[in-house]
């Protein structure tokens, strides 16, 4: 028999020997929640860079009147892919990655409830992402029309019908997101079950870290809100491939129904995306203020309330569609109610800082900026929630400014805070503090320069998704200012990536608990061993590590 050139079984590696194929094999076949979490986050960062480059091109196109950086069709593809990527391939994997890495460590578990389903979730998500991007190559389909999807991230009917979207680009959008959604649901179910069934002895729900609480409610929202999108996408597939009439207005179907279905998913989705920010802030602010979080039960209640109310506000994206005045009133009112629990959260974070011994390290800087910027984003949100106001500014750059303020000035700031905060845990080394501060200030200036002028442009009447504009409308100055923010944002992001890369190799060893923190993940070595906890810890209060460090003054005495 001919000899077999490749080993069928994986050869054992000698101690101290580095083998690339072995490493690759380990990462590809892993079911360890920490590795999967890291893979989610690295994937999200890569897609963040891709979608960021798209945003850069969009901003360059709009920097000057009558711009011709790209042609109009490419421009449509750019904003579609930018939005779709940021929501589904950056935001969602960040949710999954953070909760995968941290939830088991925080509740004293050795892995997630379903490790193999966890791996399945990651790989199917990645496949969905590739499927979406494959549209650049394969999107032309048989008819030779189209490339990447160009229907906008919410893909309104009838743009997605066969008549207006020839070729296969929209199909790649549908299938890519559908498949990535399956991964998100798998990972969300995993997080819920892990939190409910895998907590270490003594870790009652009341003692669970805020991060885990928020992620629990976040995952609950995912499994409730994502299936409506999948359902609507299946209907769209039926329309496109079987000649169905769901969204075909020629045959009695309703284009508005797609909007309803999309936003029944879409609005909870923005809360799904912002909840990790809440989760990170609720961990970082107490540690860097040296105070337990203010009003814990109220904080949990507020998140639960936001999660609940967010399921009933979707049509505030549709005021301009022409709904009944009853619907307009209802959705205006329900949207404003969201402001109450959100206000509770902002007050409680501020109250946590009040009178605390604040350490302004990089994570805390990002959290402070988040508080201000997210407040502004929330206030413009309340403005837009008012039906008549929305009629004036619907689909204008004011809306673009509003949601970029929540997602970039809000979520991305919180994600940076989280990544700096947990970097020592993940790598065992400290990041470069000075570089972190530079990153913060540059990014802050860049974000303000880019996204504040968008609000003004909206007031001046500049519509969203516009390819270019003529001179003399008063838009030139603010557009140029918005684009000039890139000069700060790009080096800031590069600095961040460089900081993480260089620090994970050359950074100072930082020990297990550089922040003097109180949750369980800091009680184990950095980076955490594969089994997480040598002995499963026992928990008697919401700050188990504080109890260990201060046996004379443990928290359980007051709980």
């Amino acid at each position: 028999m001919a000899s077999i050139d490749y080993p069928l079984e994986h050869p054992p590696v000698k101690e101290g020997e580095f083998s690339f194929s072995n490493h690759l094999y380990e990462w590809v076949s892993t079911v360890d929640h920490k590795r999967l979490g890291l893979m989610y986050i690295v994937t999200a960062l890569l897609f963040l860079v891709v979608a960021g480059i798209m945003a850069t091109v969009i901003r360059l196109q709009l920097a000057f009147p009558n711009g011709h950086v790209v042609d109009p069709d490419t421009y449509n593809r750019l904003f579609t892919m930018h939005g779709t990527t940021m929501v589904f391939l950056v935001g969602m994997p960040f949710v999954a990655g953070l909760s995968n890495y941290l939830v088991p460590l925080m509740i004293g578990a050795r892995d997630m409830a379903f490790p193999r389903m966890n791996a399945f979730g990651f790989w199917i998500f990645l496949f969905g992402g590739f499927l979406l991007y494959f549209s650049y190559i394969g999107g032309s389909g048989l008819s030779g029309a189209g490339s990447a999807p160009d229907v906008g991230w919410f893909a309104y009917a009838p743009l997605t019908s066969r008549a207006f979207s020839r070729g296969a680009s929209t199909d790649y959008w549908i299938l890519g997101i559908l498949v990535a959604g399956i991964g998100s649901i798998a990972s969300a179910i995993n997080v819920i079950v892990t939190t409910l069934s895998m907590r270490c002895p003594g870790m009652t729900l009341a003692r669970m870290p805020m991060f885990v609480w928020v992620m629990l409610i976040d995952s609950w929202l995912i499994i409730i809100a994502l299936p409506p999108l999948s359902a609507a996408q299946i209907m769209l597939l039926i329309d496109r491939f079987l000649g169905g009439n769901f969204f075909n207005t020629q045959n009695g179907g309703s284009a508005v129904l797609w909007q309803h279905f999309f936003w029944i998913f879409g609005h909870p989705e923005v809360y799904i995306l912002i909840f990790p920010a809440f989760a990170i802030l609720s961990e970082v602010i107490p540690i860097f203020s040296r105070k337990p979080i203010f009003g814990r039960p109220a904080m949990v209640g507020a998140v639960a309330a936001i999660g609940f109310i967010s399921l009933g506000v979707w049509a505030h994206h549709m005021f301009a569609v022409g709904m009944t005045s009853w619907s307009n009133t209802f959705f205006t009112a329900s949207t404003m109610i969201v402001g109450i629990p959100t206000g509770i959260k902002i007050f409680n974070w501020t109250a946590t800082m009040y009178g605390g011994k604040i350490r302004l390290a990089t994570p805390m800087l990002f959290c402070c900026a988040f508080l201000f910027q997210f407040l502004i984003a929330g206030l413009t949100g309340i403005m837009l929630a008012t039906g008549p106001f929305d009629w004036q500014l619907h689909d204008s750059y004011f809306v673009v400014g509003h949601f970029h303020f929540t997602l970039v000035a809000g979520l991305v700031f919180a994600l940076f805070a989280g990544m700096y905060y947990w970097f020592p845990k993940v790598s065992g080394r400290m990041y470069h503090e000075k570089m972190g501060k530079w990153h913060f200030w540059l990014f802050l200036i860049g974000v303000e320069l880019t996204f504040v002028p968008m609000h003004f442009l909206g007031f001046l009447g500049m519509p969203r998704r516009i390819y270019t504009y003529e001179a003399g409308r008063g838009w030139e100055f603010w557009n140029l200012v918005a684009t000039s923010g890139l000069i700060f944002q790009i080096p800031a992001t590069a600095l961040f990536v460089w900081n993480l890369l260089i620090s994970s190799i050359k950074g100072e060893r930082c020990g297990d608990d550089p922040w003097d923190a109180w949750t369980l993940e800091w009680s184990i070595p950095s980076p955490p061993p594969e089994y997480n906890f040598e002995t499963i810890p026992e928990v008697r209060s919401s700050r188990p590590l504080w109890d260990l460090k201060n046996p004379n003054d443990p928290d359980w005495r007051f709980e």
Binding site: A113, F114, I185, I189, I192, V193, T194, L196, S197, M198, R199, P201, G202, I223, I224, A225, L226, P227, P228, S230, A231, A232, I234, M235, I238, D239, L242, G243, G244, N245, F246, N251, G252, G253, S254, L257, F261, I264, E538, R540, D547, N552, P554, W556, R557
Partner: protein, 199 residues
């Protein structure tokens, strides 16, 4: 500081029991599936009576009485099968399990015959009108769940026929039966919406 407080012993953690993770997993799978079905049901309800041309539901739909009885009674037989397994009577388990599969297959067969009649005699397809689109989508989504359920039921049947000690898998059989109950419950909704309200 108060010395009495200082010497206070830490509270003892009593027996620590959390819900079974498999149980929770199946429950949340069912929750997320319910959300999926809800949207299809809503779409069906929204489009009742909106078809611009025939055939209309009242002309072509017959109540699938036999199929419904079969599917709903399969929920009963699967419970009997579970009970047999709990009392370690594997032969009885196989018999009830087989009955469940037969009832499920009969349901699928009825659906197939109904669709055949609708397509060939009444010329109702997905693209004919809104009724066709929503009907085939909703009933088809449910039927695809029946098929998935049947595949797993068959898998259990086969492995137990080939001598796999199925009584060790009581927990997983229970999860499968929960899924099957869910599929049945969805049918009650689909039946009500499509054949009672929609007609």
């Amino acid at each position: 500081m108060d010395t009495a407080l200082n010497t206070q012993a830490p509270p003892v953690i009593g027996e620590w029991r959390l819900p079974d993770r498999g149980t929770m997993g199946v429950i949340f799978l069912i929750v997320t599936e319910s959300a999926l079905f809800t949207i299809f049901v809503v779409a069906y309800i929204v489009y009742i009576g909106r078809s611009l041309s025939g055939p209309y539901p009242k002309d072509v739909l017959d109540l699938p009485i036999l199929a419904s009885i079969c599917l709903l009674s399969s929920s009963v037989t699967i419970v009997f099968a579970e009970h047999a397994l709990k009392r370690n009577r594997v032969g009885l388990f196989k018999a009830w399990w087989f009955a469940t599969i037969l009832l499920g297959l009969e349901f699928l067969l009825s659906t197939g015959l109904e669709w055949r009649k609708l397509i060939y005699e009444d010329h109702l397809t997905v693209s004919t009108n809104l009724f066709g689109t929503t009907f085939y989508a909703l009933v088809g989504l449910h039927a695809s769940h029946v098929i998935v359920g049947l595949i797993f039921l068959l898998l259990v049947m086969l492995v137990s026929l080939f001598g796999f000690p199925i009584h060790t898998q009581e927990r997983r059989v229970k999860f499968l039966s929960w899924y099957w109950h869910f599929v049945d419950a969805v049918w009650i909704v689909v039946f009500t919406v499509v054949y009672v309200i929609g007609r």
